[in-house]
Each structure stands twice: as structure tokens, then as C-alpha cells.
């Protein structure tokens, strides 16, 4: 029997009275599956994640979350120049008592998590000296070190080059399909959703979101509505496997036409 | 009509009083001529001349304003009995309660003289008064008894009470002549050795009476030696410095909350001779902080009698006599006890010589 890792109904959030970021959102993430959240800039993706993580309380609606969740924030800089190991160790926060310091066991867990993402050699290096992709991996390891059942990632691939994007997607797929975690991530790249996600949530308008299996939701219509750009979904075969991707239908003529109107 | 009458009366008064005044125009203590028509009708005072002015004038009549701190000293001490009206003297003439003048308030009173302290060349004290064209009488910090005399004469000249000023000066000299005699006798008994005395102006922080201060001079005149004589100005000293000085007697400023017990209870003071022998004394309050022309000799007398216990004690009698003579006040035993701080000083060695019963006994032979 499959149960939901995350389910939310009638979810809405307003920072000020009647200034809704979004309202009336529904969605569910089944255990062991991957859900992508797509929406234009400023539509409240990060706010949605805060509500799902329980960091902020929703103005209305309900969130139920089953299992321990870990969070991978957007690629960020830290005010202090901590070492990679120090950064990963912080993932153990919930396991260390308020007035205690992390133990040797916590440190071993951190090293193991670094090893899992292939960053063990960087343990004593300053976090700031790493490349964007390496930093993302360290933050990934930091999430893993708390032994989560659910991973929530905020635009894990947006600041990375193609190679590192692929590494991240691969990690997420492994987490879900090999380790049995439930994964939810936000992204600006619909083709990332097409390649790894099982389900998708499209934040079409502040008062309207649609969610469901990728095949049902990532339609040309919906995507056109979401991004306001003409685009085409393409299916092809590669090495005997079916693939889907999408491309904006933008020729110089189309661009000029759009510019005029 | 009334105006004419008043001016006539004033003119007559002036004629009467100018007879008493000295012929050359007096100079104030920064060397400027004092061009005040004596007797002054309205006077503003800033420093401790207030009580001497009251004393010479025998009333608060001409005082049109004074700094709050001096009015407080008068109205909370013995002088309140002699000059009950002094409590009502307006104090808005100073901005800070001390020496910073409120020029507009002073101008409003149109004073004939403004007595101001020169301070430590602080321009905020004198300059605003000079700029406003007020008749300033500047007084400097008392360095020796000649400053006492010159202050008394200045007040005498301005108030038209020069004869009284001279009488007070004579009394002062007589008192010290008697005291010097006693100190010589006392020093003979100690083979000329003077005891080390610390006059503590403030306890926290530790600020002693320095070598340039007139209180220090009076201390030496009473037969002691000022351990802080090497200091040239009032400054904070460390406790270790006091350990080094090791005073045999400590006297405390009359008019704050510090008492001998404070020092006895402070572990830092334990090795100090004065504390070991319980010879810490609080200076009596008197009417004017036991200083100046009238009470200065009493302060010295008090200290001499503490330094030389074998001398007969006349202090209680001297106090009574001085207050009777100068202010016409009869001080009862309770008042004397209060003025001498009998209660807080009772924990110290030898202070019982000032108690009402013992004094009478010592007078008996």
C-alpha cells in the first residue's frame, strides 16, 4: 500500500492581509516518487517549500508530511568560511542536544555522507573554495547526513552547468529509485521534470495550480500557459529508449512578431 | 513719589556706609577694580561666599540669587537657624546648580554685584557674565589665609560691612594664635614628630586633599603632616598609594555619606595604621562645611585635639562661643553632637573626648 509522503490541501499563504502569494493549492507526493514544482519567478516556490518543511505556518489549508524531511536550499554563500566537513556536520543539528557538541559519531556520519556524494577528499577544504557544483554536492551530503525519508530541494540545478545539472538529476533519481526516498524539487527547467520526475505541480496562477503525473500535466498547453512562450514537446528514441523533451518554438520571425504585439 | 523717597533713603544709606569703606577702590582676585556702589542692594553669588555674605550682612536681604548647591548647604545646616530666609533665595541664576551662570536670569535681577569663582580658568564661568556687562567680582580658589581675608574684605566693601569683616579677621587670627600655642605644646610632647594625616575628600573614587589645597595647609597648621602634599591638584589615587603613605589619621569630608565604619569594614584598608588604631574621623559639618573664616579655626582645633589627646579639649565650648558671638545662636548639646558627628565617629578611638559629659570633666581641673 502506498501512502503519501507529502499531501497538502487548500494551501494558501499571505504575508499581509489579503495579499495572497498563492491560495487553494492541492498536491500529493507518493512515497518513493519524485515531484517537480514548476512556476515562474516570484510565484512563491520557496514559500511553498517553507510551508511543506513546517518552517512557516500556512495562512490557510493543511500540510501533512510523513517521515523526516531534509532540505537542500538554493546554492548560497555562507558568511563564515567553514570547512566542508563543518558544513556537512550541521546536517546533524536535530540529532545533537541543545547544549551539546557533535560527537565523533556525528563526524563519522558526515564523512560517510560526503563519501556517498563522492566528496570525501574535500572534507577539510574551505567551503568557499569549491565550485558551484561541488558546493551543491556538499549541501546534498548535508541533507543526507540526517538520514531523511523525504528530500526537498530548492532549484538544485539552476546555477549549474550542464554536466553538474546531470549529476544532480542522477543523484535525485538514485535517491528515489534506489534508496526509496521521496523527493520534491523546484526547477526552472521543464526538461528536468520530464527526465526524472514522476509527478509535477504547475503553479499556473496564484489561485490555480495543477498537479498529477508528468504525462498528464506537462502538456504543451499547460506549459505555454505557464511560461507564455510557444513551445513543442518532442518524443524520440535514443539507444532503444523513449525520451521526451521540449523546445521553445522561437525563430527570429516569431521573436520579431512577439516583440511587435 | 515713592521712587524719590526710596532714592533719598538709599543716598542717605550710602553716605552712612561709605564712611566704613576703604578709600582705594578694592580689586577682585583677578586684579580688576571692583566698581560696585556700596552697599549693594542686590547681589548674586555662585561660590561659597554665600555664607560669608550672610554672616557679614546678618541676613539674606540683598541676596537676589545664589547657586543651588550653596543654598542647599545653608538651608540644610546650622546656618539655617541663623538665616531661615536663605532657603528662599532663588537658585535659577545657575544652570547646573554650581558655577555655570544663567545670564538672562541674572540680568533680570539687575544685580549690583555678581560673585563668581574663576574656576580652573573655565571660560564658561566668567566670560558670559563679562560679556553681558554685569558687575563681576571674581574670586579664586583659596590658596592661603590671605585669600580668606581678601574675600572677606571684598564682601565687606561690596556690602558696606567692612568693619565686621575686619572684626572676623581679627577673631580668626586670635584663634590661630591660641591654637599655634597648643600645637607647640603638643609637638613638644611628641618630640616634634608630626603624625601623617590623610584628608580624604572622596572615598569612592579615592581623592585626597592635595598639597595645594588650603585644607591641607590648615591640616599642617593643626600639627599634622599631609601625606598627599606631593599632589598638586585634586586627583584620584590608587589604594596602593594609600598603603604606601600609611596615614596614622584619616579625616573624611564632612558632608557626604562616607563614615569611618566604611573604612573599617573595607578589607583593603585593614593594613592602614589609621584603621588599625581606629583613628578615622569625619569632619564636623558646622554651618559652612567647617571651613572659611568663621569655621576654619574650629576645624583646626578639632584636628589638633584629635592629634594630641593630652591637650585639654575646648572644642565644644569654642563652637558654642563662636556661634553665639557670630550668629547669636545658642547651640544645645544635641545640636553640638549632631554637628560633631558624634554618632558615626563614636566607633573611632578617642572621639569620646568631644562627648558632652567628658568635656565638662576635662574642663573641671
Amino acid at each position: 500500500m502506498t501512502r503519501d509522503a507529502i499531501a497538502f490541501t487548500g494551501l494558501g499563504h499571505a504575508y499581509r492581509r489579503d495579499e495572497w502569494i498563492f491560495r487553494g493549492y492541492h498536491g500529493r507526493l507518493a512515497k518513493g516518487r519524485i515531484m517537480a514544482v514548476l512556476g515562474p519567478n516570484g510565484c512563491g516556490k520557496t514559500t511553498l517549500l517553507r510551508l511543506l518543511l513546517g518552517i512557516a505556518a500556512p495562512t490557510e489549508g493543511q500540510v501533512t508530511i510523513e517521515g523526516k524531511a531534509a532540505f537542500v536550499p538554493q546554492l548560497f554563500q555562507v558568511g563564515f568560511d567553514y570547512s566542508v566537513l563543518d558544513m556537512v556536520l550541521m546536517g546533524r543539528a536535530a540529532k545533537v542536544a541543545l547544549l551539546a557538541q557533535p560527537s565523533r559519531r556525528d563526524e563519522e556520519a558526515a564523512l560517510a555522507a560526503l563519501d556517498r556524494v563522492g566528496m570525501a577528499d574535500f572534507a577539510s577544504r574551505p567551503f568557499h573554495h569549491l565550485s558551484g557544483g561541488q558546493r551543491q554536492m556538499v549541501i546534498f551530503a548535508r541533507a543526507l547526513v540526517s538520514a531523511p525519508e523525504i528530500m526537498i530541494l530548492d532549484e538544485p540545478s539552476s546555477a549549474l552547468d550542464l554536466r553538474n545539472q546531470a549529476v544532480i538529476l542522477e543523484r535525485m533519481a538514485m535517491l528515489a529509485h534506489h534508496d526509496g526516498l521521496s523527493v520534491l524539487f523546484t526547477t526552472h527547467h521543464p526538461h528536468h521534470a520530464l527526465s526524472v520526475a514522476d509527478d509535477v505541480l504547475l503553479m499556473l496562477r496564484p489561485d490555480h495550480a495543477v498537479s498529477g503525473p508528468v504525462a498528464d500535466i506537462l502538456t504543451e498547453d499547460n506549459l505555454r500557459q505557464l511560461y507564455g512562450v510557444p513551445l513543442k514537446l518532442l518524443g524520440f528514441e535514443h539507444e532503444g529508449r523513449p525520451h521526451r523533451t521540449l523546445a521553445p518554438v522561437l525563430t527570429p520571425e516569431v521573436i520579431l512578431e512577439r516583440g511587435r504585439s | 513719589m515713592r521712587l524719590i523717597l526710596t532714592s533719598v533713603a538709599l543716598a542717605v544709606l550710602c553716605l552712612v556706609r561709605t564712611g566704613e569703606a576703604q578709600t582705594p577702590p578694592p580689586q577682585d582676585q583677578r586684579g580688576r577694580d571692583v566698581s560696585v556702589a556700596a552697599p549693594a542692594q542686590r547681589v548674586v553669588t555662585f561660590n561659597s561666599v554665600l555664607w560669608l555674605y550672610l554672616t557679614l550682612e546678618r541676613g539674606a536681604g540683598p541676596i537676589a540669587g545664589a547657586s543651588a548647591s550653596t543654598v542647599r548647604t545653608v538651608s540644610t545646616g546650622l546656618l539655617d537657624r541663623a538665616f531661615p530666609s536663605a532657603a528662599a533665595i532663588p537658585t535659577d541664576v545657575s544652570v547646573d546648580g554650581f558655577f555655570v551662570p544663567n545670564v538672562e536670569a541674572i540680568l533680570r535681577r539687575a544685580p549690583d554685584a555678581v560673585f563668581q569663582w574663576v574656576g580652573r580658568n573655565d571660560p564658561a564661568y566668567l566670560e558670559p557674565l563679562d560679556r553681558a556687562g554685569l558687575p563681576v567680582v571674581a574670586l579664586r580658589q583659596t590658596r592661603d589665609e590671605r585669600d580668606y581675608f581678601s574675600t572677606a574684605r571684598l564682601i565687606g566693601a561690596v556690602s558696606g560691612r567692612s568693619a565686621r569683616a575686619e572684626a572676623l579677621i581679627d577673631d580668626y587670627r586670635d584663634s590661630y594664635a591660641r591654637l599655634d600655642h597648643h600645637v607647640q605644646a603638643g609637638l613638644q610632647a611628641t618630640k616634634g614628630r608630626r603624625q601623617r594625616v590623610l584628608y580624604l575628600w572622596k572615598w569612592r573614587p579615592l581623592i585626597p586633599i592635595d598639597g595645594k589645597n588650603f585644607f591641607g595647609t590648615l591640616l599642617e597648621r593643626a600639627g599634622g603632616v599631609n601625606v598627599a602634599a606631593q599632589l598638586a591638584r585634586p586627583e584620584r589615587v590608587s589604594m596602593e598609594k594609600i598603603l604606601l603613605w600609611d596615614p596614622e589619621v584619616v579625616v573624611l569630608f564632612c558632608c557626604d555619606r562616607t563614615t569611618p565604619s566604611d573604612l573599617y569594614q573595607d578589607p583593603m584598608w585593614r593594613p592602614v595604621s589609621a584603621v588599625r588604631n581606629r583613628r578615622v574621623y569625619k569632619v564636623p559639618s558646622g554651618g559652612s562645611r567647617f571651613a572659611d573664616l568663621v569655621e576654619g579655626p574650629l576645624y583646626s582645633r578639632w584636628l589638633t585635639e584629635l592629634l594630641f589627646p593630652e591637650l585639654p579639649s575646648t572644642l565644644r565650648g569654642d563652637l558654642r562661643q563662636t556661634f553665639q558671638q557670630v550668629y547669636g545662636l545658642d547651640l544645645d548639646d544635641d545640636t553640638l553632637d549632631h554637628t560633631l558627628h558624634m554618632k558615626v565617629n563614636s566607633v573611632s578611638a578617642g572621639y569620646d573626648r568631644f562627648s558632652r559629659s567628658l568635656t565638662q570633666e576635662s574642663l573641671r581641673p
Binding site: 548560497f76 558568511g79 563564515f80 543539528a93 536535530a94 557538541q101 577544504r125 | 572622596k202 598603603l243 604606601l244
Partner: protein, 347 residues
């Protein structure tokens, strides 16, 4: 660039401890009253060793009082205050992710001084005065924090500006209180609070301020790893399972407690809480697990040196607050320049 695993960082805490111990012994030797070094050593041994092994007491009472009653409480008080300021500064900088803050810059010191001065005016003393100083420090810090949050941008500048506004406001209030105070009995005590000096150190003061500084300092030390977590920022720290707001206020309260105790022991002593953590960070790296204890040790060492200079430079003692500012500001300017040159990563 120093990182936490370098050998210097590892050696910093034992080295700082040793230097502090030596500096304390040396400071016991400094004073107007002449006490031979050997006698100082013997007196200290008599304190440390059990009665049977202690050296014979062949010193004079004045020597004993100079070393144990005058100098020892002062040395301990200075060390406690310095350690407290170092800790408070390091914790604040970490928590606010902001290298430019310190207890004086964000207004705590002025607020605590206001509380203390108000207490003098109302004739409070002892623990009540300490409580008033604590309340003043808390209010000031809360105000600065709130002001900085009004600015939408976040980051370094709003907090520094908020602190300047709050400090200026409390400084103005302090002036007002001085003006209405009785100049004979209360004003000198108030001025003392504002200048900053350990000249009035005594056993009584030590007994009054040691418990809050030791308690709050101990708790801050226990929370040192949590400061790492807070330094990540609100969202990130919260996502790691930290109750950010609660932890922040706990640290604010502890910092205010330390600063209030320090201010009531020695008046306002600026710049220590700002410069010391900076310097220590260069020594041991950014990990607060090591930075906080090292800052405490270095703060104690720094303030003790400053106090020794204050005691010996002139015949009359200098106010230590003036000295720390004279030394602190150029050092801070230098550090600021270095950080600018290197590119400080912040927010």
C-alpha cells in the same frame, strides 16, 4: 588563510590559556605598593596549595592586602569582563552573520549603562542595579534588531545603523539622567559608569558579577556549535531543525546578561567585543566551536594587557574605555581593510 584544522588553530587554545595565566601572574606584580616578585609568588602559592604545603607567611599585611585584596579581584574581574566581551562579540557576530557588530555597536552597552544609571538615580544597588543594567541592554538590543528588520534589504548595514541609532538614543537619555541627578551624591557614580575603568574593582564587585558572567558565558560556550547553525541564515538553519527564533533570543539574553554584568563592574568598555573575535578568527578560523573559547581567552588576555597599561602608563590611572577605543579602532580599521581586500562573503 587559516582553516580550522591547521596546527596553529589547534594550538591556539592551549597557547592562549598559557599566555593568559602568565599575564595574570605578571599583573599581580604591577602596582604602586612595592611587593617583591618572590613574595607575590609565595602569596599566590599560599592561595593555591593546601594549608600543609603552603609557604610560611613571612609577608607584611600590607603586601598581602596589595596582592590578594587589591590586585587579585581586579585581575579576575578584568579577565572575566574581557572573556565575557570576547564571547559576547563572537556569538553576536556569528548569530547576526555580520562581522561588523559588537555589543557596543548594536547599542547593548549604552542600554546597559542607561539601566545602571537609572538604577543609581532610583537608589538601587547590588543585584537590583545589575538587573536594571540587564533590562536596559536587552531593550537596546531588541530595538536595534527590530530597526534593522524594518529595512527590507537585510545584511550588514541596517543592523549597524539600527545600533547607531539606538546607542545614540540611549546616550542622549544618559545625558538627560545625569542632568537631573544630584551632583554631589549620584553624578560621580554615573560618570564612572560611562567612562569605563576597573579602578573600583573589589571582592564585592567580583562576587556580584562573576555568577552572571560565568553562567551566561558557560551557556554560550555550550551553545557554540549552534552559533555555526545560526550563521547559515534563518531559512537554512530552520530547515536543519533549529528553532531559530527561540535560539536567537536565548543568545541575545545571554549576551545582554554578560554585557550588563561587565558594564556594572567597569562601565562602558568599547571595541573589545568587536575586535577580539575578529582577531581570534584570523587565528583559529571561523568554526565557532573553536572560536568562542578562543575569543574568551583572547578577550581576557587583551583586556588584562589594556588594564595593565591603564594602571601604569601615567601617575593617575587612565580610563580603560579610552584605551580600548584608541587601540581598537585602528586595529578594526586594519581588519576591515583586509576583509574588504579579500572580499567578505556576506548575505
Amino acid at each position: 588563510m587559516s582553516i580550522s584544522s591547521s596546527s596553529l588553530a589547534r594550538l591556539a587554545v592551549p597557547l592562549l590559556s598559557l599566555s593568559l595565566l602568565l599575564a595574570m601572574l605578571m599583573s599581580l606584580r604591577i602596582g604602586t605598593y612595592p611587593v617583591p616578585t618572590l613574595t607575590v609568588a609565595r602569596v599566590v602559592l599560599a592561595w593555591l596549595l593546601p594549608a600543609g604545603m603552603a609557604p610560611a607567611s613571612d609577608w607584611s599585611e600590607a603586601e598581602w592586602v596589595a596582592v590578594t585584596i587589591i590586585r587579585l579581584p581586579r585581575v579576575l574581574l578584568v579577565c572575566l569582563a574581557g572573556a565575557g566581551l570576547g564571547l559576547a562579540g563572537a556569538a553576536l557576530q556569528g548569530m547576526m552573520r555580520n562581522p561588523l557588530v559588537g555589543p557596543d555597536i548594536v547599542g547593548i552597552s549604552a542600554g546597559a549603562a542607561f539601566g545602571g544609571i537609572l538604577a543609581i538615580l532610583l537608589d538601587f544597588s547590588g543585584p537590583a542595579m545589575l538587573a536594571a543594567a540587564f533590562a536596559g541592554g536587552m531593550v537596546a538590543l531588541a530595538l536595534a534588531w527590530t530597526l534593522s528588520r524594518l529595512g527590507r534589504g537585510g545584511g550588514v548595514l541596517p543592523l549597524v545603523l539600527g545600533g547607531i541609532i539606538v546607542a545614540a538614543f540611549f546616550t542622549a537619555l544618559n545625558g538627560l539622567l545625569q542632568y537631573v541627578a544630584d551632583p554631589d551624591s549620584k553624578l560621580p557614580a554615573m560618570v564612572y559608569w560611562l567612562i569605563g575603568s576597573f579602578a573600583a574593582a573589589s571582592i564585592d564587585k567580583l562576587v556580584l558579577v562573576a555568577p552572571p558572567i560565568v553562567l551566561a558565558g558557560g551557556l554560550l560556550l555550550a551553545l557554540r556549535w549552534r552559533v555555526n547553525l545560526l550563521s547559515l541564515g534563518e531559512l537554512d538553519a530552520a530547515s536543519l531543525g533549529i528553532r531559530v527564533e527561540r535560539l536567537r533570543w536565548l543568545i541575545i539574553a545571554l549576551v545582554a546578561m554578560i554585557v550588563a554584568a561587565q558594564v556594572s563592574a567597569s562601565g562602558m568598555v568599547g571595541w573589545v567585543g568587536l575586535v577580539v573575535p575578529h582577531f581570534t578568527r584570523m587565528l583559529v578560523g571561523p568554526d565557532h566551536r573553536r572560536l568562542l573559547p578562543a575569543s574568551a581567552l583572547f578577550g581576557a588576555l587583551f583586556l588584562l594587557m589594556m588594564d595593565d597599561v591603564a594602571r601604569t602608563l601615567a601617575s593617575q590611572e587612565l580610563p580603560i574605555g579610552v584605551l580600548t577605543a584608541v587601540v581598537g579602532t585602528p586595529v578594526f580599521a586594519f581588519l576591515y581593510w583586509r576583509l574588504q581586500a579579500r572580499g567578505w562573503n556576506n548575505d
